[in-house]
Amino acid sequence: MVEGLVNNNIFEMKDFSIYYGHFLAVKKVTLNIGVNKITAIIGPSGCGKSTLLRSLNRMNDLIMNSWVEGHSLFKGVDIYQKDTDVIELRKRVGMVFQKPNPFPNSVYENVAFGPKIRGIRKKSQLDEIVENALVRADLWKEVRDKLNESGMSLSGGQMQRLCIARSLAQEPEVLLFDEPTSALDPISTANIENLLQELRKTVTIVIVTHNMQQAARVSDYTAFMYLGEMIEFGNTDTLFVNPHNKLTEEYITGRFG
């Protein structure tokens, strides 16, 4: 099938379910992710939001016994069909995790790692990619003089931005963020949130967060999940000011359970 955006959606999930063995973790979710938009997924622990996020670049394949039903289309092509090149998919749909996880390597090597795997060897080309990725991750000014120092020596916020730069060096079309600021202080959190606003100009962002204020601050659209189901999806402004579903209302006003 030929790739292409459908109604400006980069992802389209239709009746998409994810199982861990017999356990149904995500139940028949239908969700569209708009291109160059920030979509937040919120919900209580265990609601399936991270599972759903990880399915977007098939990270769940790494979990034993996980399997899916329904359709998850990336630019109109089902990513769970047999001939999907999962490595290529993960290059195009990158991921940033909760805890900053730089490689035990220099700042430079962290960012150059992906391009090198892709076969880029020319120093000048790698230099350009590394600088460009670090600039886009808003880290260049802070690390330009210590590119050869260990990535692990940076502060928490810097390490997270290094991980973002590492993803950006792969020139992804989508970046998935799984609780990207939960281990960071408020200033580093604000830096990452500002960065998301910059990145959205060129990359589609999907973010899972426990911090509802963060979802409200950064996202264009918000999805609320509960017990594996997509309860409500809509404009972030509407969802936080005037949600349509009673469960959403109870969750975001802290009157849950």
């Binding site: 936080f240 209302e249 802290g254 009157r255």
Partner: protein
């Protein structure tokens, strides 16, 4: 009950207290005029600072709740509504003071003619105030829409009152100072009705999340 719910209830109680104080101020100011009771008018003027102080207190509490609790959805709409309607209530209190001031002046003059239009305007206006505040307390109902509809009646009566008094003034220019003060009183009441309409519109926002201000006046 969660602490936040207790705080919201405490805020609601303060808004209700302000509502009561303003309703009494409007009622007494009208009585002071119609019954020519200047002592009552002085009471209204004297009590206004209590309304002002409570308005400030409610605003401070709303800001505190927004800063500390980061309210969402219906809580956010309730707090923003409380902030906005207290401004309307405080202005209504000021207008009651204006009525009381004119009452003191008019009570010293011979009565031009018995008050007919002003009590009618006052009755509808006070109903609108009461219903808009009831709607705030009770939440979703048809009451706020009814309040908005009644504003036209007040506007029409105010124009009628004005035209009648202009007729009197043309016939007898000596009564101009008294007649002008009576047009002022009607205008103050008409402004109070406008504030009641604002409150009704905010109550609709609080209940439904829909801003109807400056759109269709009687959309339901």
């Amino acid at each position: 009950m969660a602490i936040f719910d207790e705080e919201l209830n405490a805020l609601k109680e303060k808004v209700l207290k302000l509502c009561c104080m303003v309703e009494v101020a409007i009622r007494d100011s009208v009585h002071s005029l119609v019954e020519r009771n200047s002592e009552l008018a002085k009471e209204v003027i004297k009590r206004d600072h209590l309304i002002n102080a409570l308005d400030v207190k409610i605003d401070e509490e709303c800001v505190k709740l927004i800063a500390l609790r980061q309210p969402m959805a219906r809580d956010l709409r309730f707090i923003t509504t409380a902030m906005k309607i207290t401004t309307d209530l405080e202005r209504m209190g000021d207008l009651a003071v204006n009525i009381a001031e004119r009452a003191i002046e008019l009570n010293e003059e011979p009565q031009l003619k018995p008050y007919v239009n002003i009590p009618k305007i006052a009755e509808i206006t006070q109903e609108m105030v009461r219903d808009s505040l009831d709607a705030f307390v009770r939440g979703c109902s048809t009451l706020p829409y009814e309040v908005i509809k009644r504003d036209d009646e007040v506007d029409d009566l105010t124009v009628k009152n004005f035209n009648e008094l202009v007729g009197f003034m043309i016939r007898d220019p000596k009564i101009i100072p008294i007649a002008i003060k009576r047009t002022y009183v009607a205008k103050y009441l008409e402004r109070i009705a406008d504030h009641a309409t604002n409150i009704a519109e905010m109550v609709i926002y609080m209940c439904k999340g829909k801003m109807i201000r400056h759109i269709a006046p009687t959309e339901s």
